[in-house]
């Protein structure tokens, strides 16, 4: 058992982390290349960066998701908060990383991390329920939409059980193993699913803005490529 754990926390973790980081970096690199290509093609290169910036950071405020669907938005904000803050500022995680690479940063009190993680787990389940409860989201959603919040919640659930043996119905070691395994799985999923918004979020608004910056001869070139340029309308 211990060997497995070391394997999951060691090589597998690092492999998963590399996969996530490199995968996201690749996506981001491709996006930047596309953006540069679009800028080069655009006839009018005056981009409204101010508006793009405002449109982007607007969503980073926890109040932003309210509005059109306040309950869903609040749940989502809570979910994001817990998922990001709890694992990153957990004393146990920071200690692991310090031992491995010598980097450390201030930790949250364990009670606060527990509360945040609990909130995120509840929010994840609530997200799924709210998604199912509204006709609009139900009709839009597929497997990924329901599965992803739960997959994200798995390491949190297992982590909570590891931290609080009193809540844990199973033995400690297997639970820790499960925790490491689900965390590794999550890392692998980040770059290949829509979870990649963790890195791509900053380019989404810019992408829209650039698409409206027409390439001046795109139409004629498309017409030529399709053999329709000389055709009467």
């Amino acid at each position: 058992m211990h060997g497995w754990l070391q394997w999951l926390q060691g090589p597998v973790f690092w492999a998963a982390l590399c996969f996530a980081v490199l995968g996201l970096a690749r996506r981001l690199g491709l996006a930047v290349a596309q953006i540069r290509g679009a800028l080069a093609r655009a006839g009018d290169r005056r981009v409204g960066y101010r508006a793009v910036w405002r449109g982007t950071v607007r969503w980073l405020s926890p109040a932003a998701p309210l509005g059109a669907r306040p309950l869903f938005g609040a749940t989502s904000a809570l979910f994001h908060l817990g998922v990001i803050v709890a694992p990153l500022f957990l004393a146990g995680h920071i200690a692991l990383i310090r031992d491995a690479v010598g980097l450390a940063w201030p930790a949250l009190p364990n009670a606060a991390a527990t509360a945040l993680a609990l909130a995120a787990v509840v929010a994840a389940v609530a997200l799924v329920i709210e998604r199912l409860a509204s006709r609009a989201t139900r009709s839009l959603s597929g497997f990924q939409e329901y599965a992803l919040p739960l997959v994200v919640a798995l390491p949190l659930v297992t982590g909570l059980l590891v931290m609080h043996p009193a809540w844990n119905p199973a033995p400690y070691e297997p639970m820790l193993l499960l925790h490491a395994a689900t965390a590794d799985l999550l890392l692998v999923l980040v770059p290949v699913t829509k979870l990649s918004h963790v890195a791509l979020f900053p380019v989404t608004q810019l992408a829209t803005e650039l698409a409206w910056h027409f390439a001046p001869d795109a139409g004629a070139k498309v017409g030529l490529a399709l053999g329709r340029e000389g055709e009467p309308i």
Partner: protein
């Protein structure tokens, strides 16, 4: 000759004769991705859509129909799915693995797209609601272009563009002689009714502004045009109308970038011919938004683009438009055309003008960047055959908004909006409401230093014809 059949709008007969449509559609898609700037957005949308349903809450159509097909994200998915399947590695791989059960683009699917993407006015109201920046109006814009390459496009739009690019040179087939006649008549009217010697100058080389209203204004919005001429007159503006091209309409914006760029280049050519320095666009919203793209096509030293509302406000602010002491007494409200207001570009100028000339100006809510579309955006106003949809479903929110203001006059500075709102008012029993252009009101409020006959107030030459094409 038109054919209805598959779509709720008329298409030309050849639309039904195109063979091998899925392959052609994909070929067009590939070419557009290669030469245009859409890939960057599509890639991000296709990967990241959150499917959070927030857009549903902002679409005025979904609010009324409650049908799944009218959720913005649902509609955009129609195109994103094709993109994922045929233009991403993951999609191609997945299709390999799942073999026959993989999603394939079919004729039926294309027909569904043809119907769905004309149920969206591309008003972009839903855009601000998307946390991931998905612009469903952009997706509609692109999807319509791709569909047009397999000839799925409303007949009314294609016929207007044909007239503009291959026929009379403008969308309403107005001849130069007809145009001059109309303007002469308007000059007389300005002199006799309003007591002002304003002129419509033609082909003046070196004029500062070359004027491009929606050409339909010459047929339908005489009062607004007289207002334009009067403003130019009292402010001493140097302007001209080019007989080579006097139509600001660009239906390319609604269905094909290929047409869009040809129409814009024609417009630029006319400005260059006249050695004009600026483009003065009439009140029309989509003409203005199209003209804002001029710098992309004009090369070095592009002409500046000014909308007549901006011009009028600048002149009024500078004290160059004398106003009568008494204000317009009716209750007035303002409809923000999406193409002027959505990105926040022209929202305050018209309001400032109206507040200066109206005694009882009220806002409709929501407004400015969050306004509701008139319901006829994206060229759908030209499709008379879908009027019940346009006014009954798409325009219902607008009707409620107008009713709530209690206004007698709705100022709609866009030719498309004007036509649509008149029909909305008609179909929703808003009998006492009159839809007017802003310059029409401004004309009433201007002081020409003579006692204009009181009867002139409210006198209108413009009677909106249902079947006439408008900008």
């Amino acid at each position: 000759m038109a054919t209805r059949g598959k779509f709720s709008y008329y298409v030309e007969p050849r639309a039904l004769q195109v063979a091998d449509r899925p392959r052609k559609f994909l070929a067009a898609f590939a070419a557009v991705l290669e030469h245009g700037n859409y890939a960057v957005a599509l890639d991000s949308y296709a990967r990241l859509v959150a499917r959070c349903g927030r857009c549903a809450a902002s679409c005025q159509l979904y609010a009324v129909t409650g049908e799944d097909q009218d959720i913005p994200c649902h509609r955009s998915e129609l195109l994103l799915r094709v993109y994922r399947r045929y233009f991403t590695t993951a999609g191609l791989l997945k299709a390999r693995v799942s073999g026959a059960s993989a999603f394939t683009l079919t004729d039926d699917y294309l027909d569904r797209m043809g119907e769905q993407f004309y149920r969206c006015t591309a008003c972009r109201r839903c855009r601000v609601e998307c946390p991931l920046g998905v612009d469903h109006g952009l997706v509609t814009h692109l999807a319509r272009w791709l569909l047009a390459e397999i000839d799925v496009v409303p007949k009314a739009l294609v016929a207007a563009v044909r007239e503009q690019l291959e026929g009379a040179g403008n969308t309403s087939a107005v001849s130069v002689a007809g145009l001059k006649d109309t303007c002469e008549f308007l000059e007389e009217e300005l002199r006799d009714t309003w007591g002002v010697e304003a002129k419509f100058p033609f082909d003046v080389e070196g004029a500062e502004y070359v004027f491009f209203p929606a050409v339909s204004d010459y047929l339908l919005e005489a009062d607004t045009l007289m207002g334009n001429a009067a403003v130019m007159h009292v402010s001493g503006g140097s302007w001209t109308i080019g007989t080579g091209n006097f139509d600001g309409i660009n239906y390319g914006l609604f269905y094909s970038d290929r047409m869009f760029e040809r129409i814009i280049r024609r417009l630029i050519a006319e400005v260059r011919r006249l050695k004009g320095r600026k483009v003065l666009v009439g009140e029309c919203g989509h003409a203005t938004r199209s003209a804002w793209c001029i710098p992309a096509y004009a090369g070095a030293d592009p002409p500046e683009v000014v909308n007549c509302l901006e011009y009028a406000w600048r002149m009024l602010e500078a004290g160059r438009i004398p106003l009568k002491p008494e204000r317009i007494p009716e209750r007035v409200t303002y409809h923000d055309p999406c193409n002027l207001a959505r990105v926040g570009r022209i929202t305050e100028e018209p309001r400032e003008i109206l507040k200066a000339i109206c005694a009882d100006y009220v806002e409709m809510t929501p407004n400015r960047t969050r306004n509701y579309c008139c319901g006829g955006g994206g060229g759908t106003v030209s499709l008379d055959e879908i009027r019940p949809f346009r006014t009954g479903l798409m325009g219902r929110k607008k009707a409620e908004q107008i009713r709530a203001t209690g206004a007698q006059l709705v100022v709609a500075p866009c030719a498309n909006c004007k036509k649509q709102l008149r029909e909305v008012c008609e179909d929703h029993g808003l009998e006492g409401v009159k839809v007017v252009g802003l310059h029409e009101l401004l004309l009433r409020a201007m002081d020409f230093g003579v006692a204009a006959p009181a009867a002139a107030a409210g006198a209108g030459l413009a009677a909106a014809g249902d079947s006439s094409p408008t900008g």
